[in-house]
């Protein structure tokens, strides 16, 4: 049986969700036999494999032009897209910059409170979008894993269900934000 291809992406977030993914303990061993982890901060592979993947987990909110590009690519190349953690689901902490004009934000961070001699970093990093958005505001999403980070048990439950070809049953406490 061919392995299920899974990608994980890391947008505007703290990597805590990925830490929680690694925190699913012995389930990791089970997963190792069943999945092929493709592009992911964990593998450090940067591009989607030829033919796309079965599942992509997206940690973090859509906050810059790179995220915008990648989230659309992820949608095209994934059968199932999962918003992975509160930043992806709600915008969470990164979303709090919404309401502050991007120019002012850049000026305050890189212009005033700076270690870069007031130089703006735009020639090397992607431009910020004018508003941070949850993933499902940009592309359709199949499942939402709540939590900051989502508890390891919820992650394991969702992935194992999908591997069994079932709908992840996310109910009650599984849907707790924060």
């Amino acid at each position: 049986m061919s392995k299920v291809k899974i990608s994980t992406l890391w947008f505007s977030g703290c990597a805590g969700c990925h830490m929680s993914l690694l925190d699913i303990d012995e389930v990791l061993i089970e997963l190792a036999g069943k999945i092929e982890l493709c592009n992911s901060p964990i593998t450090d592979l940067k591009v989607f494999p030829e033919g796309g993947v079965d599942v992509t987990l997206i940690e973090g909110a859509v906050a810059n032009e790179e995220h915008l590009h990648l989230v659309k690519e992820a949608r095209e190349k994934s059968k199932i897209l999962i918003s992975f953690g509160d930043c992806a689901v709600t915008g969470n902490v990164p979303g709090l910059r919404n309401g502050i004009p991007t120019d002012k934000l850049i000026e305050d961070i890189y212009g005033k409170g700076t270690t870069t001699n007031g130089e703006l970093p735009y020639d090397v990093v992607p431009h910020l979008l004018d508003r941070v958005r949850p993933v499902h505001e940009v592309v359709p999403v199949e499942y939402f894993l709540h939590g900051c980070p989502p508890p390891a048990g919820v992650i394991a439950k969702a992935i194992l269900a999908l591997l069994d070809g079932k709908e992840p049953e996310l109910v009650g406490e599984d849907l707790k934000f924060g």
């Binding site: 939402f144 849907l175 924060g178």
Partner: protein
């Protein structure tokens, strides 16, 4: 004793007259989600989460009297759709970021998201930017986490009798204020009794110094106080 008989979700129930549908349901172990309702305070029907269906009409169960012969439904698909939309609207209105909220783990809004199975907020978030008022020596209010349920207003008026809290402005500018929109620390009518902290269902009104997920509230306080007062 005079009684009335009615049906809730197909169950035949006998109750005393004069009770609200919500009271009758709760007394019979039928769960109806609520937010602005709090035992011990008057009901205002503001949050609309407790809507139920009576004779094809959606009515708030907290402010609608149970009457003899009524056929009440509390969990139809239509009701569920509306409740979830209302909850989404509440989440979209404020900055209900649970990850760094003092009340996380003890928040009625957070619990409602689980209960009503709100997987995501489908309506656009508004990201308000209200100033946090931390001028009171012990308490603070973060209006971006306020759901305008009015429990603080009613508690302050009906239980403490201080009338410090009130509403100001209209529409999306509506907010709770202390005195005539003075900073809380300057509000002369405030007795600093702290009951508003206990009744606030979210992390809007909290104790200063409570860090992430440290705030736990005694939301039954008002019910206990009013009960004892009634026994005087």
């Amino acid at each position: 004793m005079e009684t009335i008989t009615l049906t809730i979700d197909g169950r035949t129930i006998t109750a005393a007259p004069g009770q609200s549908i919500l009271e009758v349901a709760e007394a019979n172990g039928i769960r109806i989600p609520t937010l602005c309702h709090l035992e011990g305070l008057s009901d205002v029907g503001a949050c609309r989460l407790c809507i139920v269906e009576v004779a094809g009409q959606l009515v708030p169960s907290c402010t609608t009297q149970a009457v003899d012969g009524a056929d009440i439904k509390t969990q139809t698909d239509t009701i569920k759709v509306h409740r979830r939309m209302i909850l989404e609207l509440l989440f979209a209105e404020g900055n209900h970021v649970c990850s760094f909220c003092a009340s996380s783990g003890g928040c009625e809004l957070q619990d409602l998201a689980c209960e009503l199975e709100m997987h995501s907020v489908t309506v656009p978030y508004s990201y308000p930017r209200n100033r946090i008022d931390a001028t009171h020596p012990w308490f603070l209010i973060d209006r971006d986490r306020c759901v305008l349920c009015g429990r603080c207003v009613r508690t302050c008026a009906e239980v403490e009798g201080a009338h410090t809290w009130g509403f100001a402005e209209r529409g999306s500018s509506a907010r709770v204020i202390t005195d005539l929109a003075a900073d809380w620390g300057e509000a002369e009518s405030c007795t600093s009794c702290g009951k508003c902290v206990e009744v606030c269902p979210t992390g809007a009104i909290v104790l200063k110094g409570a860090s992430n997920a440290e705030m736990r509230k005694d939301s039954d306080l008002v019910a206990r106080l009013t009960e004892r007062r009634d026994h005087e």
